[in-house]
């Protein structure tokens, strides 16, 4: 049975065009001769800019008064044997992340203009990046479990190659680890999807993979509790590995450390969000009762992640690895927000995702540029960056401040509301436990200040180490400025006007996520 949406208008089409344009661009790119490097780069940039323009068009056309409702909805029969449809739409939850993916990809291409990791092969690199973009964009608008799964996995391959081909010393280990962890998670995830599918049928209803339809059917009410917990467990594993939550995080530091700069940026900025997005979009609304059962576990793991990530950071000797570990801590805050199952918490989580995307993405950019200049990221060997490249140094400082959650910058709005919401989790959750988590998580903010400032002090303050004293170090260059300026501006803008994000996400969180949780409680 196919739901064919007759209302095919321009806006709906643009959503799909924006999603698939990078893939088409990558295909064309594959046909371009490798030697025409400028052409290759220009084409890739053009594709991503075109995609971004489509995205901006959608942003303009988006009905903000109705941010919780599906917009640009399109449903077309896809695999009708299993009643799976190409069902996409955009709402307040998708919009920020959708746009973030586009922006980050475009900026990464700009940054790459003069920074090609070895072995130099712009064509292949850019193709992967564009394929990645389609995967990311698709994941954020898919409203069908199978469609989501395909996009979710589409992201895996390009990233694997990016790490494996252009990564650092231990790239093979890191890429394999990344791949297998994620694959394992998605295997369990697809099992849960199937279970949902089959359990959604019966009583005259056709089984379905359609997310809104599954939410509507109130799976929590029809399923036996133990089955529901099992299904949620599968989803949990799939998403938690991607997030990554403690203790499934060990792939992350390796992947981040070994990946080329741009890979780290995309990984941190967008890929990790697929996991948290999955929780918000799929796991919690479809199975709110199980989500409540799991929430304490998630909260505890998230809290451990916050502290653990921070401790991990403090132990690091390598700048990039430190930033990587900080992701574990930051995603802990996001997950903590999600675990509360409240409006505040989930809004904070979405904001946290965007903020972390901007900030940590930026930090990885800086780390990449430091590496490019000094050929090392060993903190012990760095120092006096402010003397040799003051602008770069101050950008690092700025991002550190943003990352440690300074109010007025974007990071704060992911962190504080998450802590705030933990004080008062959804009805039925253990208040004592969550409040304990809250206090511990707030200690995490202190540790965050500790490791970030320590990093900043060791790398930027002081005077340059002897080995670099005579090195000619150039400060931030034009492609870097072009790639970074939007991110930096975003960090400030979202920090000052968090409403830009909250006003979009809030109705969506209300209508699409917490409504299910609240209904469950009754």
């Amino acid at each position: 049975m196919a739901i064919i949406d007759g209302n095919v208008n321009l806006d709906n089409a643009v959503l799909s065009v924006a999603t698939f344009a990078p893939l088409a661009g990558a295909a064309v790119l594959g046909l371009l001769p490798k030697r025409e490097e400028f052409l290759v780069k220009a084409w890739a940039l053009g594709t991503s800019v075109f995609t971004l323009l489509c995205g901006l068009y959608l942003v303009l056309r988006f009905d903000y008064g109705n941010a919780g409702a599906p917009q640009f909805e399109r449903s077309h029969s896809w695999i009708d044997v299993i009643n799976s449809n190409y069902h996409v739409f955009m709402d307040g939850l998708s919009l920020p992340l959708f746009l973030l993916s586009m922006v980050i990809t475009t900026l990464c291409i700009i940054y790459s203009w003069d920074h090609w990791p070895e072995p130099r092969n712009p064509k292949a690199f850019l193709m992967l990046m564009l394929i990645l973009e389609t995967g990311m964009l698709g994941s954020f608008i898919a409203e069908d479990l199978i469609l989501f799964f395909v996009f979710f996995e589409l992201v895996l391959l390009p990233m694997y190659f990016m790490i494996g081909v252009w990564g650092g010393e231990q790239r093979q280990y890191a890429s394999l680890k990344f791949f297998l962890f994620t694959l394992f998670g998605s295997a369990l995830m697809i099992l849960s999807f199937l279970a949902l599918y089959f359990k959604s049928g019966g009583a005259g209803l056709e089984p379905t993979f359609d997310i809104p339809m599954l939410i509507e059917r109130g799976m929590s009410d029809t399923l036996v509790r133990s089955t529901e917990l099992l299904i949620f467990g599968g989803l949990f594993m799939g998403f938690a590995i991607k997030v990554p939550m403690f203790p499934f995080h060990t792939w992350l530091p390796d992947a981040h450390t070994q990946a080329p700069t741009v890979g780290s940026v995309i990984l941190a900025a967008v890929l990790l969000k697929l996991g948290t997005y999955g929780f918000i979009r799929i796991a919690i609304p479809i199975l709110p009762a199980a989500a409540k059962e799991y929430a304490p576990l998630i909260a505890v793991l998230a809290t451990i992640g916050i502290i653990y990530g921070a401790l991990g950071c403090l132990a690091q000797k390598d700048m990039k690895r430190l930033i990587a570990f900080s992701s574990v801590a930051h995603m802990g805050f996001v997950m903590l927000g999600i675990a509360t199952l409240t409006d505040y918490g989930i809004n904070a989580a979405v904001f946290g995702m965007v903020a972390h995307g901007l900030i940590t993405g930026m930090l990885f950019f800086v780390a990449g540029s430091v590496k490019e200049r000094f050929h090392t990221l060993e903190i012990r060997r760095l120092g006096g960056l402010l003397v040799q490249a003051p602008k770069l140094g101050w950008i690092l400082g700025f991002c550190s401040m943003a990352s440690l959650g300074l109010p007025g910058l974007a990071g704060f709005w992911g962190e504080f509301p998450a802590i705030l919401s933990t004080f008062n989790p959804a009805e039925g959750l253990s208040v004592a436990l969550f409040r304990t988590c809250m206090v511990i998580a707030s200690i995490g903010t202190v540790l965050a200040a500790g490791y970030l400032l320590w990093l900043f002090q060791r790398t930027a303050f002081g005077t340059p180490k002897e080995e670099w004293a005579t090195t000619e170090v150039h400060d931030v260059e034009r492609p870097e400025w072009l790639a970074w300026a939007p991110l930096l501006a975003g960090i400030v803008l979202f920090g000052i006007l968090p409403g830009i994000v909250f006003d979009i996400t809030d109705p969506a969180v209300n209508e699409r996520v917490t409504a299910a949780v609240v209904a469950q409680g009754k």
Partner: protein, 856 residues
């Protein structure tokens, strides 16, 4: 959808019926905006301005000062207007309560009345563009002065004119069911803070133009100053706790930048880190406390609403206690109370004017301000006015801080550190004042302290400016002859700090002591306060004596100068190598010598740059970047003839202005001056909360003054050579020696902690110190980071790399091992394959046969 039109909010609809808020009250956002503009412009365009943008900052701050002064005037006037014009206030009742039991009831009535009539809903919720104004009608409350038993002479109730607050909020963003506003809450407290902050900040800006004239990062410095001021101004005028947090943290950031301004030296950056990290530790409390209050008060960040609910008891008391404790932890961190005070003396690593700003009007008083702002919460939580225990955590911490910081001040040789400990001690007064219910006293002290402490710091800066940037009092001596202006102003500041009448410090300190006296803390905190006053007098006498009396002991010749500043040179040269390709050779010893010769006028400073500047022009921007200076160490060539000189006008003018303020600031709340300070202290929530307002008591004033004089007398006598047989006591008497060492080591707070943790050895203080550290001081920055790093290394090396990773890796290894096993199955021999085939088939057949046979 977006709230971009945020600041452009105008009072939607009618203001409160009771009165009309003045223009400035309604446009108070202008005041924090000015330093923000200063920050942005200086940061991005400062280098294009002459003087690195310093004068832009000065002018912006000047404007802010003008506005906030005007605001103050408007505020003082407005209340009268409201009432005199005869618009009958909606609620203008005079309550005369005699029994304290009635009071709560009355207060509730007031609030209810106010809510019913005084809160026009100017906006429809959900429409972010529209503002919301609250203005409580003016009223006259009269409250019993002292609840706690009417022991004091101030038991007589007196009428207090309550100033309603004005609040303008615009929608900031929605989250969950609530709309978070961004707005300004103007009441007396905010007005006086705005004034104080802009006043001090303006003078600091002015002072810095001279003091950091040739600093390499002058532009950054002024930008940071601007942002710092903006943060404080925003904080004191904010209407929501979220915004308060915003200002609070911005200050944390700027203190980091300013303390670490000369980040080339690790000492400075360490201090910056320590400051940020320690205050951040306290911030955990702020995050937690605000969260509790947010939910406790029915999901609102609005401070006024939170306070109201704290008073009326809508927030459960257990929540209030939890919130109050949490918030107070934040105050301990920010306002450098024991045991988190250790960052503050280290923070002296920053430029002196920045220290003045941090210590006088911003950063450190933020904690006190916050407690004052949320005072109803604390008041209800700890039952301050009616405490069976006889003490509470706030008063206790404040009291301890007064004494321990006062004692530490004695053993410091660095003049700035003495002043730093003095600040800690004075903050202790304020906190104690809040703890004993002397709200007015505390904020009044905050107000007066700002002037004389800024004065003292800038005076110290002026001295140091003249003495080759030394802060070591052993280098000073006899300076009263060389620097008369500095001397006189410094003396005024000192006397004000000592709390001797009739200078500012007396009046405010007296009010705090009065509070302790009347509120039932006569035997404890009153005594602590008096001892503190004596200590203050004594150590300030020491400072004054060592600095201004006696003979000048500092270096006198250029050789000595060079020697003295040699250490500073090393890294400066390294800098210049890297910076902008200027020839480093130009800046060196020869530069100093030539500069010394070339400079004819000792009044004109910065001769050290003679060579460089003469080549590139004395006012060339480039040159001032290159020329190696870090302010403090760079003007070393200035004094000629071997003697210090008086500082130029941008330094002395602020000193004089502050000296004047130090004299008069206290008078405004003097009884004979009509208690003008009530304009700022008699604010709605405080009065409503029933915070007692004692009136002047001669007895208390005399006792406290006598205490101070005793300290002063002893100290003067000591420095005049009367040793009371105590000379060499520390050598003769083991206990005294130990005491001295304890002070010298700052109670071992920093040192021992590091030694125990970092080296992992149990020191001589052994288990006691270890226990102390582990249980009491876990928040101290170094300790935590060391422990954390240790724990982190452990977790990372052992747990992460071995256990978690190991499991994963061994699963992989297991799989390949199994694979190897199965590989042997395929031996290559065909008959073995056949055997497997037949064997598999036979075995399968047998099993199946057996199973099905059994079944059938």
């Amino acid at each position: 959808m977006l709230n971009i039109g945020l600041l452009a909010t105008e009072a939607g609809g009618a203001a409160a019926e009771g009165f009309e808020a003045g223009w400035l009250t309604r446009h108070v956002w202008l005041i924090p905006l000015l330093p923000v503009v200063s920050f942005v412009v200086t940061l991005f365009f400062g280098k294009r301005f002459k003087g690195g943008g310093a004068w832009f900052g000065v002018s912006m701050m000047g404007l802010a000062l003008l506005l906030s002064t005007a605001l103050g005037v408007e505020w003082m006037g407005r209340g009268h207007v409201g009432i005199e014009e005869g618009q009958p206030p909606a609620v203008a009742a005079t309550y005369r309560g005699t029994a304290s039991g009635d009071q709560e009831h009355q207060v509730q009535q007031v609030i209810e009345e106010a809510e019913r009539t005084g809160e026009p809903k100017a906006s429809i919720p959900g429409h972010g563009e529209e503002g919301e104004e609250h203005a409580l009608p003016a009223g006259r409350f009269s409250l019993p002065a002292a609840e706690s038993g009417g022991e004091g002479p101030a038991g007589e109730p007196h009428a207090v004119e309550v100033r309603p607050y004005h609040e303008a909020e615009a929608g900031w963003f929605h989250i969950g069911p609530i709309e978070v506003g961004f707005g300004f809450h103007i009441d007396g407290f905010a007005v006086i803070m705005l004034f104080t902050v802009s006043f001090i900040s303006f003078l600091v800006h002015l002072f810095s133009t001279e003091y950091l004239r040739d600093d390499r990062r002058r532009t950054h410095y002024f930008a940071s100053l601007g942002l710092f001021t903006a943060g404080m101004l925003l904080m004191v005028s904010s209407s929501t706790s979220l915004q308060l947090l915003l200002g609070w943290e911005i200050m944390g950031l700027c203190s980091f930048l300013l303390i670490g301004h000369w980040w080339e030296e690790s000492k400075n950056s360490d201090a910056a880190l320590k400051a940020f990290f320690t205050t951040r530790t306290g911030d955990v409390g702020l995050l937690v406390g605000l969260s509790i209050l947010f939910f406790g008060a029915g999901q609102t960040f609005n401070i006024a609403k939170i306070n109201q609910q704290a008073i009326t008891g809508e927030i459960p008391r257990s929540w209030l206690v939890a919130a109050a404790v949490a918030l107070f932890i934040a105050c301990i961190g920010k306002s450098a109370q024991f045991p988190l005070h250790t960052w503050l003396p280290d923070a002296m690593a920053g430029p002196t004017p920045a220290s003045a700003l941090i210590h006088a009007a911003t950063m450190v008083v933020a904690g006190v301000y916050m407690v004052g702002r949320f005072y109803p919460v604390f008041f209800s939580a700890f039952r301050i006015a009616n405490n069976a225990l006889g003490f509470n955590i706030i008063a206790l911490i404040g009291g301890i801080t007064i004494i321990i910081a006062g004692l530490l001040a004695f053993v410091q040789q660095d003049i700035k550190k003495v002043l730093a400990y003095s600040t800690v001690s004075q903050l202790g007064y304020m906190v104690m004042g809040l703890g004993v219910g002397a709200w007015t006293g505390a904020i009044f002290h905050l107000f007066t302290h700002a002037f004389f402490k800024a004065l003292l710091f800038m005076g110290a800066g002026s001295i140091s400016h003249a003495c080759w940037h030394s802060f070591d009092m052993r280098d000073f001596g006899g300076l009263r002859k060389h620097m008369p202006k500095t001397f006189v102003t410094f003396m005024i500041g000192t006397v004000a700090l000592m709390g001797l009448p009739p200078l500012a410090g007396f009046w405010s300190k007296d009010e705090i002591l009065l509070g302790a006296w009347t509120n039932g803390y006569r035997g404890t905190f009153f005594l602590v306060g008096c001892v503190g006053a004596a200590l203050t007098c004594a150590y300030m006498t020491r400072v004054v004596y060592k600095t201004f009396w006696g003979e000048y002991k500092g270096p006198q010749t250029p050789d000595a100068i060079e020697h003295a500043s040699h250490a500073a040179h090393g890294h400066h040269d390294a800098h210049d190598d890297a910076v902008e390709n200027q020839a480093p050779a130009l800046v060196g010893a020869s530069a100093y010598q030539e500069g010394a010769k070339a400079s004819a006028d000792p009044g004109v400073k910065a001769a050290a740059h003679g060579t460089v500047q003469s080549e590139r022009g004395p006012h060339d921007d480039e040159a001032s970047h290159t020329a190696d200076d870090h302010g403090d160490s760079a003007h070393a060539g200035a004094p000629l003839g071997g003697y210090p000189h008086e500082s130029p006008w941008p330094i002395t003018v602020p000193l004089i202005v502050l000296a004047v303020m130090s004299v008069v600031a206290g008078i405004i709340n003097a009884p004979f001056f009509g208690l003008q300070f009530t304009h700022f202290s008699a604010i709605e929530p405080i009065v409503a909360a029933g915070v007692p307002e004692p009136s002047f008591s001669g007895v208390v004033a005399v006792i406290s003054t006598l205490g101070a004089l005793a300290g002063l007398g002893l100290a003067v006598a000591w420095w005049r050579g009367m040793r009371f047989g105590l000379d060499g006591l520390t050598r003769r008497n083991g206990l005294a020696g130990a005491g001295y060492r304890l002070l010298e080591q700052k109670y071992y707070l920093d040192a021992l902690y590091e030694r125990v943790i970092v080296r992992g050895i149990k020191g001589p203080m052994a288990s006691a110190a270890y226990w102390f550290n582990q249980n009491v001081l876990d928040g101290v920055a170094h300790g935590v980071s060391a422990t954390a790093r240790r724990a982190a290394t452990f977790t990372y090396d052992v747990v992460d790399q071995e256990v978690v990773d190991g499991t994963v890796n061994s699963v992989g290894a297991g799989a390949t091992g199994l694979g190897r096993g199965f590989k042997h199955m395929a031996s290559g021999k065909v008959q073995q394959y056949v055997a497997y085939l037949i064997g598999g088939a036979a075995a399968g057949a047998l099993v199946i046969f057996a199973i099905t046979f059994n079944r059938s």
